[in-house]
Symmetry: C2
Subunit: 458 residues, 2 copies
C-alpha cells in the first residue's frame, strides 16, 4: 500500500483510526491460535458508512481486508495471512436497542458478548450464547464464527439468535438481511449465509438478535463418575429425561490439572466429572433437581453428586474449575492442539475409547473435556513444539482423530470454525461437489477475493 | 417438449411415472392458492439419482422443472407458471432412520409431516413444526417453504429443525449440506440457503432433522376476552412470564363463524378468544397452569378461562374450532385473500385497530386470526371475485395492509413464502441492493433459470 492509498484510508476514518506503526501492526498480528501474520495497517471504522467506504477503496486497490472482533478465535479467522488491512469493528460497540416486549436487541458488532448479556439481564431478558471468551469476545465475531458455548445443549448457538443483519459486501454495497420479527420467509435466507462465514463473504455492521425470557432459577450439579466411558453413557441417559442448560464433562486428566480449584477433596477413584445445570421456573428447577439427584444416586458408576445453587460461591467454584482447564493444561506441555470435534452424543464413549488408544499408541498425552450434551468434545493433544518429532506424532494423532470423528457421523468443528488451521482438512468432511459450490459462493460475494482471503478454502 | 424428449424422461423414471394426459396435467395444475397453470407433463422420480438425471436432461433442454410436495402451499410455490415439468417428490417417502439416542431423523422429502410426527412419537420423540396442513403436506415442501405453525412460538419453525440436506442442483449435480450433529460450523451454511428457497435453488432429496424429547404433559386453555385489542395486549403480558407452546387468537368474526363447533354457549360480550397451551414435565405444566389461571382470572377484560387436558375431547374440540376457521370463512364470501403478515407482537393491537379502520373505510369484510405469540397474523380479506369492483377494493386493502405491516417493523410473510402471489410486493420489503444480491444467488445456483422459474422475483 503506497502513501497515497494510506492517505485515502485516513481520510475515511480519520488519522487516529488508521495505524501502521510497527507496534500497531504487531498488536493485531495474532489471535487465539498463537500464530502470527502482520497486517500492513490496522483500520478502525466508526460507522457502517465508513466500513462501506473502506471496502470500496480496498476493492479498487485489490487490498485484503480482515474483519476482526476481539481476536479470540481459535482457528486463525482474524489473521491477515495475505497482508492488507486488519479491520477491528471494536468502535462499532453500541447497543442500539433492547426491546423488552418483543424480546430482541439491535446491536453493533463490536459489543462485548458479556456486556450484552448483562444489559439484557437488567430487563429480565436472556441472550444465551456463552463462548468461554464471552467476557472479551464480541457479538460480531461470535456471529462470524457462529460461536457456541456450554448453554448450546439447551439453547442452541449464535446462529439461532441472529434474526437479521446489516452487512457491507466486498465491493462496498450494504445489504439488510432477515427480519425483526419471530418469523419471516420473504426472499432468500441471506442472514444465515453470513453467520459462520468467518468474515469471508461480508462485514457484519449491525445485528438484530433474538432474546428470551431470563430463566427464574438455576441449579448446578457436580457429578463424580468412576470412569470416562460411564460418564459419557450417563450424558445420553440424562438427556433422555432432562434438558439441562449445561452438560459439560472433564476426563481424569482435566480433573487432575484443576483439582486445586475445587473446594473439596477429589476421591482417588474419580475418573470423570460431569457439570450439569438445570434452569427454568423455580418450581420446575426444584422438582427436576430432586428427580435428577435421585436418578443419579441410583446410577451405576456415580461416586457422588453435589448440588450448588446458582450464583453461590460453590457454583462459581465449579465454573472456575471448568474454565481453568484450558489455561491450566499448559502445566502438562508447553503447547497444544485443541480441536472442537463433534460426534453424535451417544457415540462419545466410542470416541473416548479411541482417543485413549490413540494416546497410548502414539505415546502422546491427549485429554478431553467439553460440551458433552451436544457431542462437542474439546480434544487436547499436548506437545512441545520444539520437539519436531513430537509435532509429527501430534499431527498424525490429529488426522487420525478427524478420520474417526467423520466415520462416527461427526464434524470437524462445532464452534471454532475452519479459518486457517482446519482449512487443509475441509475436503475430508465436505465432498468435492459441495466444496465447489461453497467456493463459487465465495466468488459470487467476493469476486476479487479481498475479504479475509486464504481462509476456509486452500 | 417433443416426443423424443418425453421418451428420454420416461427412460429415467419408467413409463408409469411420466404422465402427460390431460387429466394428469390438470391434477397437478393447482395448489392451495386456487390458481391454475397446466404443466406439460408430470414426472414422479423414485430416487435422488432419478432426480439428478431429470435435472441433467431438463438443463440440456432448458425445460422448467417445478418440484412439488403435496401442493398445499398458499402462495403458488408449486405452480408451473412457465410450463415444463411438475415434479412431485411424493415417491421419495421413506423415513430412513430415527435415531432415538441422538434425537434425529433422516427422511426423504415426500414423507407426510404428520406421519413423521407419529413415527417419532412412538419413540418418545417430538418433531414440532405443525403447519395446519400437516396431515397431508410433506416434510420436503415444509423445508422448501420454511413452514411454521402454532407451535413456533415456543419451538420455532421448520428451519430450526433442518440440520442437513441432500440437494440436487439445477444442473443435476448432488450436494450434501450441514451435519448430523447438534453443532457444526465447517464451511458455509448451505442448508439454510435452501430452506425457504421455494424450490428455486435446488431440489431437496433428503433431510436430516433435529428432534427433541416428547413433552410429558400438555394443558390447553381457552380464554374469552371482551375485545380484540385487550386480547392482543394479553398476548405480550402472558409471554413475559410463560413460554406457551401455543398462543393462538381469533377475533369476533372468526369466533362467530366457528361457534357451532364449540361445546359451550358463547357469551354475548365475547370479543376475542385466545387458545393457549403449556407443555413440559407433568410437574411444571401443573404448577405453571395453576399460576396462569390465577393470573388470567385477575386480568382486566378476561371473561372466562376454560382448561382442557391435552388429548381430551374438549381440547380436540377447541382445536377443531381453531382449524375450522379457514374453511368456514367461505360462509362470509366466496373468496378471500389470506395474508400471513408478521409484526412485532407488542404491536398486534396497533395492527388490529388499523385493520378494523381499513375494513370500515373500504367497506370490506376483513377478519383476523392466527399465531399471536409470534406476531404472525392471518389477515383474511373476504371478497367475491365475480365482483370486479370489490376485487379492486380488496387489492387496495392488501397493499395498505402491507405498508402498515412494514411501517411497524414487520414482514409480509411469516410462513407462506413469496411464491407467485407476493412476488410483486417483494420490493416493498427488500431494498434494491439486497434484492439484487438475492437475484444473483438465484443466477449462481440456477443460471439457466429452469428451477421453479417465475417465483419470488418478477
Amino acid at each position: 500500500m503506497n502513501r497515497s492509498s494510506k492517505e485515502r484510508f485516513k481520510k475515511i476514518v480519520g488519522h487516529d483510526n488508521f495505524c501502521d506503526t510497527e507496534e500497531d501492526r504487531l498488536s493485531y498480528s495474532y489471535d487465539g491460535t498463537g500464530r502470527e501474520y502482520k497486517p500492513e495497517a490496522v483500520i478502525f471504522p466508526g460507522s457502517a458508512a465508513e466500513v462501506a467506504a473502506i471496502m470500496c477503496l480496498a476493492s479498487e486497490l485489490l487490498l485484503p481486508v480482515v474483519p476482526r472482533g476481539a481476536g479470540s478465535g481459535m482457528t486463525g479467522g482474524s489473521l491477515p495471512v495475505q497482508g492488507g488491512l486488519v479491520m477491528p469493528l471494536t468502535r462499532l460497540n453500541r447497543i442500539l436497542e433492547i426491546d423488552r416486549q418483543n424480546q430482541l436487541a439491535v446491536v453493533e458488532p463490536g459489543v462485548i458478548t458479556a456486556d450484552l448479556q448483562n444489559a439484557v439481564k437488567r430487563q429480565n431478558l436472556f441472550y444465551p450464547p456463552d463462548p468461554a471468551s464471552m467476557k472479551f469476545c464480541t457479538v460480531g465475531g461470535n456471529a462470524a464464527e457462529c460461536a457456541g458455548g456450554p448453554s448450546a445443549v439447551k439453547y442452541g448457538v449464535t446462529r439461532d439468535y441472529v434474526r437479521g443483519l446489516q452487512v457491507v459486501l466486498a465491493d462496498g454495497r450494504t445489504i439488510n438481511t432477515g427480519v425483526r420479527t419471530a418469523k419471516g420467509v420473504v426472499g432468500y435466507d441471506l442472514t444465515r449465509i453470513f453467520v459462520g462465514s468467518e468474515g469471508t463473504l461480508g462485514v457484519i455492521t449491525k445485528l438484530v438478535l433474538k432474546l428470551i425470557a431470563q430463566p427464574e432459577s438455576k441449579s448446578t450439579f457436580m457429578v463424580l463418575v468412576d470412569g470416562m466411558i460411564r460418564a459419557a453413557e450417563l450424558v445420553t441417559e440424562v438427556l433422555e429425561s432432562y434438558l439441562p442448560c449445561t452438560m459439560e464433562y472433564m476426563d481424569k486428566t482435566a480433573l487432575e490439572i484443576v483439582k486445586d480449584k475445587l473446594s473439596f477433596e477429589l476421591p482417588e477413584e474419580a475418573g470423570a466429572f460431569l457439570l450439569i445445570e438445570l434452569d427454568g421456573s423455580r418450581d420446575s428447577v426444584e422438582s427436576d433437581s430432586a428427580r435428577l439427584v435421585k436418578f443419579l444416586d441410583d446410577c451405576r458408576g456415580v461416586l457422588g453428586v453435589r448440588r450448588a445453587k446458582a450464583g453461590t460461591a460453590e457454583a462459581e467454584m465449579l465454573w472456575s474449575a471448568r474454565r481453568a482447564i484450558s489455561p491450566a493444561s499448559f502445566q502438562l506441555k508447553p503447547n497444544k492442539i485443541n480441536e472442537d470435534v463433534v460426534v453424535p452424543r451417544s457415540l462419545i464413549p466410542e470416541l473416548v475409547v479411541f482417543v485413549e488408544k490413540l494416546s497410548s499408541e502414539l505415546g502422546i498425552l491427549i485429554f478431553t473435556f467439553g460440551h458433552a450434551g451436544d457431542g462437542n468434545i474439546h480434544v487436547n493433544i499436548m506437545l512441545d513444539k520444539e520437539n519436531s518429532e513430537e509435532v509429527v506424532r501430534s499431527e498424525k494423532a490429529k488426522k487420525k482423530l478427524f478420520k474417526k470423528v467423520l466415520s462416527l457421523g461427526g464434524t470437524l468443528s462445532g464452534e471454532h470454525g475452519v479459518g486457517l488451521t482446519k482449512a487443509a482438512y475441509l475436503p475430508m468432511e465436505i465432498d468435492a461437489v459441495t466444496l465447489d459450490v461453497m467456493k463459487g459462493l465465495k466468488k459470487y460475494f467476493d469476486p476479487k477475493n479481498i475479504l479475509n482471503p486464504g481462509k476456509i478454502f486452500i
